[in-house]
Symmetry: C2
Subunit: 219 residues, 2 copies
DNA sequence: TGCAAACTTGCATGCCGTGCAATTTTCTAG
DNA sequence: CTAGAAAATTGCACGGCATGCAAGTTTGCA
């Protein structure tokens, strides 16, 4: 829909993206080496060779910096979905997106984050916001393609798709936590599988859970 | 499942809940009269006749205080669902919950909040956290009833149900914003209807959006 | 009635997030 | 290549947040 500036590697832009990346890297490095509690705008800025004030010119908070990869990944997903032709249904499109989506450069930090999120809800909030923005974008995308006073349906649908993604990430992260063996490559394969499974749950009407619950009436 | 202290109106408990309520009321009153920007731990505490320090003994932030009703309402919903017999399927149960659920005392502030959330993302975050906690509880509830290595399915399902609820609230709030006429009673009826519709979308496999998108291939 | 436990309060501290003005870096035109 | 414009970085200051701690004050219980 929008052509994202195919060529503009002016010096200024390069410096800005470099600085931005440096801050994010510094934040993650410190997170891994010294833990979440140690994170300070001051310390991260210093590690990124920037002043504290400049840090805040780029990010409104430490959490925002840590969630940059997540934000990018989710925005990217919606963008890819937006590019796809309108003549395939959304769930199929979602599958396509998932397959193409997963950039290790963004997933690594995302995984790292998930390990800390359970213990520090502060961090979780900004990430929740990223998922929420994703849902909003998706809702608009759906409404734009089927605009007939079906706003509620569109919103529910969007929530389900994004919810499936979130569920997949959550489950994936939990499995990783219990079983931190696998190599990076395998991790990503696991995630892809989990994401595909989650979307399949949506496509199949609804999980076997329903029937099971019904059948399960006390013997 | 858990018996929530049927009788314990000791003086201390009463005082604490009174103080807690006073803080929440003070926060909402100031929100309506002077706007979000004016909210300060200091000012809210003063309005509730408590010291600033005591405010922080009850809530970790202004946002947490403002989200108390939301939190209560969602936790209440899950609790009601938990009480229901296992031999009805979850979507039917959800409908039941929705019908019984909606306590005006909690909904009023929730509606008020929704009007401010769009303009102040700070506030949205804590509310997102409340929804997320709701999803987690629901996931555990589902897993407990159908425990067979279907954690992912359970999580997806929970996300969908809660997502439908969130979608309903969002849509409802948006409609209210465009059209702030109705009386309080009507508002709640609208919400009930919207919630029921949202859940119906889930039950009906999936919204007509899918077929529509497929049929809609460029003529 | 008196003591222990629970609750409140003030104080102090470190960090956050932002407006502002000065400084440095990058771009552009001549 | 250079001078000035535009953009980015920096330091400073300020108000507010959130929490530990060490008093005070209220409530419960024997």
């Amino acid at each position: 829909m929008s052509s994202p500036d195919t060529s503009a590697p002016t010096r200024r832009e390069l410096n800005k993206t470099a600085t931005r990346a440096a801050i994010v890297d510094a934040a993650f490095h410190q997170l891994q080496t010294h833990g979440y509690e140690s994170l300070t705008a001051e310390s991260v800025a210093e590690a990124a060779n920037v002043s504290r004030r400049t840090f805040f010119n780029y990010f409104a908070s430490i959490e925002a910096a840590l969630n940059e990869p997540t934000k990018r990944l989710l925005e990217n997903a919606v963008a890819v979905l937006d590019e796809l032709d309108t003549d395939i249904d959304l769930l199929s499109a979602a599958v396509t997106v998932v397959k193409s989506l997963v950039d290790p450069k963004l997933l690594e930090p995302m995984a790292e984050l998930c390990l800390h999120i359970n213990t520090h809800s502060q961090m979780a909030r900004v990430q929740l916001e990223a998922w929420e923005n994703c849902t909003d974008s998706l809702t608009e995308l759906i409404i734009a393609r089927a605009p007939q006073g079906t706003e509620l349906a569109a919103s529910v649908f969007a929530h389900c798709i994004v919810g499936a993604g979130k569920a997949a990430f959550t489950t994936w992260a939990r499995e990783l936590e219990e079983n931190p063996d696998p190599t990076d490559g395998l991790r990503i394969d696991m995630l892809r599988t989990t994401l595909a499974d989650a979307i399949a749950q949506l496509r199949d009407g609804f999980p076997s859970l329903q029937q099971r619950a019904a059948h399960l009436r006390k013997a």
